[in-house]
Amino acid sequence: MYRNLSDSEISILEQRGCSADDWGTVLVKDNFSPGPISNAHFAGEVKLGVFKEKLLVEKGISKASGIRNSHVENCTIGDNVLISNVNSLVNYDIGDNVAIENVGTVVVHGETAFGNGTEIEVLNEGGGRELPIFDRLSAQTAYLLVVYRHDKSFIENLEKLIRKYVDKKRSSRGSIGENARILNTVSVCNVDVGSYSIVSGASNLEEGTIVSCAEDPSIIGEDVIAKDFIIQSGSKVDGGAVITSTFIGQGAQIGKQYSSEGSAFFANCEAFHGEACSLFAGPYTVTHHKSTLLIAGMFSFYNAGSGTNQSNHMYKLGPLHQGIVERGSKTGSFSYMLWPCHVGAFSVVMDKHGANFDTSELPFSYINAEDGKSVVTPAMNLFTVGTVRDSEKWPKRDRRGDPDKLDLINFDFFSPYIVEKIIRGSELLSELHESTPKTKEFATHKGAYINRLMLRTARRYYDLAINVYLGEKVVKRLEKSGDLTGMEKVREVLQPKAKSDDSSWLDLFGLIVPDSSISTLMDDIKSGKISSLDDLRRALVQLHEAYEEEAYSWCADLVEKRLGTKVGEITIEELTKIITDWKVNSIKLKNMVLKDAEKEFDQLSRIGFGIGGDEDTQIRDFEAIRGTYEDNSFVKSLKQEIEDMKAKTFTIGEETLGEM
């Protein structure tokens, strides 16, 4: 494949201003031609491909391949590569059709794992939840590593698997994948650059891996400084972002002077203008605005309003504390929380909170500050425009184009995880209503204050949501099955196929799964049954795929508990009631959302208006609600849904159920 240069070739090269420490260590492919090479110096062992074709370097600009004005040392260079004005290119294997132009240094020093294995101190700034990052890290694996620290044996075994994987990455040679571009960049040191990736105008990249592929290239843009990092495929980091000890997942976007330290961002995160420190950001964590700090917190499916802030310092003890903000929540402009706090799912935090509160049992809440108190209004965010639109937007905004999607994301809005929380919330409100005397304005629970008058109303809303969920699951099951010839068939369809245990459900950064399944998984890791990261991935995928049936099975159990109906033995009267109640409740729910859409501006409705959301969400919400009537607005489509629902019926054999 490779041969030595001929004398005439050397002569031509020298005439063209080229030189080498030793021409004998410069090997070339058979049909190599020296023409495209000028003013290049070769050192160490160099292998050169054939430079025949032009390549499209950047938009609108094609250039001839070749090596010009560069120092190349210990590199293997593929075909049709352009290396131009590169001060030092050392210890790299370079794929075909790569362009490296106007770059200071692209070097590998010593042995490195290219960012793999770097431990980043997420969630707890003082350490204690170190997350070893690597190029195939998924949100779920990260979650297990960070959250299950109490199980030492599990952690040790999992870390061993990771170390094994990372060891294979160690090398004293880096690679630049085919069709990659490194342009106008100051320095790239100990970085693996994936195929089709674009590094353009960056400042310094050090100790990292840029994963990229043809279907979903990664882009590192102007003035980026990155050290100890992993950037997964389809990501975009630009606009002067400064990232240190940071993991960036697939389809994430970091830019506009964002700075990040000790943080992990998983799939489809967006971070602009602000700052992250020990941030553990699950999928769809979005922070767009200036003066926004996310520190020592765990977030997912989250939107940060401008000026969002937290503190993790206790007076004398240092940066100990952490915060958890469960999926779907938002923080309003200039909101602040003193950690530790635990914010329940799909809640909205506004104002400044110095009292540490825990609203994990009260999902869909508004949390305001009033006279120094953290006042929670539970369930208010259940029937708002913002919540409904959020449920629709995430699947549409999955930017990942890589066929190998690492983070397992369940977009089910009302999942068993959430419904469990709602059930618990309803029970809690009932308990509080019983125990709080009428003379008191507020009931209190784990640092939060709830207006006593809202306890019953909120509980009604929670119960409405549960009823809608149950009805919907049953109805969807029926709809999926097609022709329902009679009640026999109905019972067969409704009978769950998976077994349900009493296990509660978990949200592992997008993977929704029974606790018992995770316990089994952890045991398998401890026992060695799962002996590689590939095994782990397969196991997680299996859990993800089992969701539908397991969730339905859980729901069937719940139907029995709450409605007294065994779905596998359901009578036509019971089915009729379920369908009719579902329709009535769903229409009620949708009408409440419509009401929210009509409401304006004040404390409640601004939430539905994209408050605390990214400007894009605000704009979309605004557009949806405030467009002209002729627009296909959110309101119009919701009204249509109500009409469709009213007209919906089910034919079971000869009977038609659900007529209104």
């Binding site: 809202m454 019953r456 009620k588 009401k595 409401k599 004040d602 404390q603």
Partner: protein
């Protein structure tokens, strides 16, 4: 319950929830325009009326009521 009693209780509740003087609450006072209730306070008012009169109202319809007088009539229908 007599309508006058309903009215009295309604005003008491409004004054309590909106933290305003009963004397400032006229029969035709508009909750938003005259009494400055936002929609959170509207929710609290509905809950307070329910508790005061021991009724469960259709919240959707209740939210359409705009004035104190309207609230008196709306609640009276449930009694």
């Amino acid at each position: 319950m007599e309508l006058s009693e309903v009215k009295l209780k309604v005003k008491q509740v409004v004054a309590r929830v909106l933290k305003t003087d009963e004397a400032d609450i006229s029969d035709d006072a508009n909750f938003i325009f005259d009494l400055g209730a936002d929609s959170m306070q509207s929710m609290l008012l509905i809950a307070a009326f329910e508790e005061e009169f021991d009724i469960e109202m259709d919240v959707e319809k209740a939210q359409e009521v705009q004035t104190v007088g309207g609230a008196v009539e709306f609640i009276a229908d449930y009694l």
